[in-house]
């Protein structure tokens, strides 16, 4: 509550301290490849990737409550931008292009669908990912005569890790800036009551599209950064719908009301999935399903909600014990 009332305040001392701690934490994490280039680096790449994906997803879906299953679409687009252009265009330029193309498609999708509400939007975004995948498959088999594209670069797993880590920093800064801006405040109002938002003068359609584009662009860049790790890119691997579902599950498990909420879902879930993949390789879908139901039933507000409830209980009980 006090946090919410401080939307206008200057950057406080506390925020500066948090920023410093985060910078130190990121610097320490960035040294990981110096110690291990095998299993721990590999799983850390997955964790950081999902942190970026889930945080970017929550930027839009958190305040609006629109569940987007288009993550795979933007991710796949990013991957394909790199796969197609890697021979001719410098890699950093491709990252920017991935952001522009994904963001642009998010804008078009937004124009077409954000006037729809609830379940229609969910179905449309899922359909969109599948549609793009089918189109890419069709184009490849009919015109290039192969079912995939090779991505040969000098980029090694540790470079992927550092890039993702850098993108995570950018996502957190962007999210923090949005939360302090008129756009962030507008999204809070829209999430509360869209009718009221309109009558207060907010162009709700444009606000939502803008945020969907920012979120889509970031997800596209993740796909682009991951492309060299694939080596051979095919539509089923680049536009894998499991990514869309896992992002929703992890973000909801963590909680979408705070910028750092998804983090709390990503870390345990990525480790869980990894272990499931090792010990029960044929039952991963069952585990995803059970996990999803368990989250919805047991933690409707995510780990974040649980922490805040406990914190509230704790502070109210200490207040009661205090005779003054």
């Amino acid at each position: 509550m006090s946090r919410l009332n401080k939307i206008f305040s200057q950057i406080s001392k506390q925020e500066k301290r948090i920023a410093l701690y985060c910078a130190i934490a990121f610097a320490i994490i960035a040294t990981l490849p110096l110690f291990d280039q095998g299993f721990y680096l590999s799983i850390s790449v997955n964790i950081v990737m999902y942190i970026v994906l889930c945080t970017a997803w929550s930027l839009f879906s958190g305040p609006t409550h629109y569940i987007s299953l288009a993550t795979a679409a933007f991710y796949g687009i990013g991957t394909y931008v790199v796969a197609i252009g890697i021979k001719d265009i410098p890699y950093p330029v491709l990252l920017v292009m991935a952001a522009i193309v994904s963001g642009g498609i998010a804008g078009i999708v937004g124009l077409a669908t954000l006037r729809l509400s609830g379940v229609y939007f969910v179905v449309f975004t899922l359909g969109l990912s599948e549609l793009i995948r089918q189109i890419v498959t069709w184009v490849q088999t009919n015109f290039s005569g192969s079912s995939g594209l090779y991505v040969f670069t000098d980029i090694r797993e540790m470079h992927v890790f550092w890039q993702l880590l850098g993108l995570a920093v950018i996502v957190y800064i962007v999210g923090w800036l949005i939360n302090r801006s008129r756009l962030g405040f507008a999204m809070q109002i829209i999430g509360n009551d869209e009718t009221v938002a309109k009558h207060l003068g907010i162009n709700t359609a444009i606000s939502k599209i803008l945020l969907f584009m920012i979120s889509g662009a970031i997800i596209g860049v993740v796909g682009a950064i991951m492309a060299p790790r694939f080596s051979y890119v095919t539509p089923p691997s680049a536009f894998n719908p499991i990514i869309s579902f896992q992002v929703v599950i992890m973000a909801l498990l963590g909680g979408t009301k705070r910028l750092w909420g998804p983090l709390l879902g990503v870390i345990p879930f990525t480790i869980l999935f990894d272990q499931v993949g090792v010990y029960f390789p044929d039952q991963t879908s069952i585990v995803i399903g059970v996990a999803f139901m368990a989250i919805v039933y047991l933690l409707p507000n995510g780990v974040l909600g649980l922490i805040e409830t406990i914190k509230q209980k704790f502070t109210s009980s200490t207040k009661k014990e205090d005779p003054t």
Binding site: M1, S2, L4, N5, I7, F8, R182, F185, A186, Q188, I189, G191, N192, D193, T195, V196, A197, K198, H199, L200, G201, I202, N203, T204
Partner: protein, 243 residues
Amino acid sequence: MTQPILSVNKLTKNFGGLIAVNDISFQVKKGELMGLIGPNGSGKTTMLNLISGAFKPSTGQINLESTDITNQAAHMIARHGVARTFQLVRILPSLTALQNVIAGCVYGHVKLWGEDAQQKAEALLHRVGLAEHINTPTDSLTYIDQKRLELARALAANPRLLLLDEWLAGLNPSELNIGIQLISDLRDEGTSIIMVEHVMDAIRQLCDHCVVMSSGIKIADGSVDDVLSDPEVIRAYLGDEHA
């Protein structure tokens, strides 16, 4: 003669076969408080929704001074300076009282941000009597306090025209007096207001001019005393035998 702040010209709205507002015209002068009254289901709230842009009219025209706002989106109409409250109070539950009011002055007719917005919101919360609730979670406010909050949010936009949809409904007698006083003060300051209301005491005390609707049709338009003694109006409210 000055231009009216709002002129509604032959406005019709039908939902499928139901004609909720049927060929209605009226004007609101600058600084005037107009009452929009009529039995339940006569189309008053639909009328407000047409003015605020929540619905688009089927035919007819609405002008805010010289601006045609007939087919504009709600957010554009809000930016032209129309603010409203809702029949069923609509506060923003996850925001604090102060933020609810700030929301009114960021995107609309006035665009404030930062310290200015905060000061304006605080002043308005004092104004409507919510000074000690600045940081109260809005869901723990009483019904009248929620209504006050909604009014403060509407006022935050410095509206050229304020639409109050049964803002006095559901208040107990002492709250009603406070509410009437508040609206009376607003009128004295020169705010143009359209008030949909069932509370007759309030209408008699406050309104300069009344439009009466029944089944979507305007059946009377004039000073409060004239309108309330009109046989047609009495028939609409009480039935034929009283007219």
